[in-house]
């Protein structure tokens, strides 16, 4: 117990580091995922190919390899940024592939008749998209997007091994100070549980409000 009380600032720093990584990378993943999903359903062939390649490659890349390549590789092209930014980039790009697939399958669940009905009422493409299709797609993508963001929060632990301040990395400091290693890890685990359960609760609320009634 005293591991937590005596090192509250260390834990707090790590916890906030993980939260920060998760939030920034989530935003990046959602934006990129949305762009890639719209590429994958676009009527233009080269957009579709680009989206498919992006998703297939990133989904099959081990995240450690991506971190390795981005954090240690990009500086060699003269692109020097804080490690935290690189970590957000790697995490965000990786998760964007999964978000893209979730969004795309959400769009595909909207029956074709909905779009046809909207068009036959004289709605323009923008109206069809914003008033008819996206609201319905949004409802069915809440659970899969939630589970992908939880996976992102868990994956952010890898950033700690590349010297970014985050929760798992705190064990090193505490280990050197000679605290009981078991308890150190117990509190780290609690920290991760808080984060993942918060995201889970958030998406439960979202789903209750807007989810599809089944």
């Amino acid at each position: 117990m005293n591991v937590l009380t005596e090192n509250f600032s260390t834990y707090g720093e790590g916890f906030l580091g993980t939260v920060e990584l998760t939030v920034y990378a989530s935003v990046l993943a959602l934006v990129l995922g949305f762009i890639m999903a719209s590429f994958r359903v676009a009527p233009v062939g080269s957009f579709r190919v680009f989206g498919t390649v992006w998703v297939t490659v990133l989904r099959n890349t081990p995240l450690t390899l991506l971190f390795f390549a981005v954090l240690l590789g990009l500086p060699r092209f003269g692109l020097v940024l804080p490690f935290k930014v690189f970590a957000v980039l790697a995490l965000g790009c990786y998760t964007s592939a999964f978000i893209c697939e979730a969004l795309r399958s959400g769009i595909n669940t909207v029956p074709k008749g909905q779009g046809e009905a909207a068009r036959s009422l004289g709605m323009s493409f923008g109206q069809t998209l914003s008033q008819v299709i996206l609201p319905q797609a949004f409802r069915s993508v809440i659970p899969p997007v939630g589970s992908n963001l939880i996976a992102l929060a868990k994956n952010s632990a890898i950033a700690g091994a590349f010297s970014v301040t985050e929760l798992l990395g705190t064990y090193r400091t505490l280990n050197e100070l000679g605290y009981s290693i078991i308890w150190t890890f117990v509190w780290i685990a609690v920290g991760y549980l808080i984060i993942t359960l918060t995201i889970s609760a958030l998406f439960n609320v979202l789903e209750k409000r807007w989810g599809v009634a089944r």
Partner: protein
Amino acid sequence: MKALDHSSTALYDIPGPKAERRHMLYGVLSTVLIAAVVGWILYLLFDTDQFTAAKWNPFTYKGIQELLLKGLGNTLKAFAIAAVLSLVLGAILAVGRLSDHKPVRWLATLIVEFFRAMPVLVMIFFVFVALKVQPLPALVTGLTLYNGSVLAEVFRSGVNSVERGQREAAYALGMRKTQVMSYVLGPQALRAMLPAIISQLVVALKDTSLGYLITYEEFLHAGKLIASNLDYDLPFIPVVMVISPIYIGMCMLLSWFATWVSRRQQRNPKVEAVDVAPAEPGTLLPGRQ
């Protein structure tokens, strides 16, 4: 002609001649743009001397090739052990979750939910640092606990998705629960869940690269050793260019295998009583099936 691919979405009408011409224009413009970006990246690679002989020379040495092959072998070894063990653990936990005894069910649920909510890396580090074991057992333990828990949920949902009539018919014939599970529900569930199981094994294969972080001598570790060697002019980018295609290729092969199995199973009369799981990356949300 292109519109045929889209007949399944609600987004677009079948394009007329004008729209087709516009799409063509967009297609050409975006292709040029993508080609320009690729060209720029290639230029950057040449500009920073990534294709000089000095940086690619090490790959011609036998020692380096052996180092890489050994790393690859270690990666596959960790994957094979972790895959077998997580299938076993998954089966045990699934049996626990489907048990008729409340305490057993609760215990199994607790274990499954806890390990699914924890980052794999935390478990690996815990075993490695706190229990002070060798890198390989630590990596395998972490992967087994996580993937075993996820697979337990896959097995369980597979058994639950078998049509009710199958279970009822088996009980009506006087079979015991063990017999119903092992002769009737289990085999059907296993066939139907095969794509989901293989997809989860892809996750395990990807996660073996976490061994790099606890200094297990796997593929990425071998790459790192070569990349940080001053004698070869720090060939970091060439190493990434050699390693990534192999790693990504292995995962892609396994993913495609899952998709192939899924397509095959959907035509298979032996899984009629149960929905075949799509070959997708496993969902990871705790508390939701």
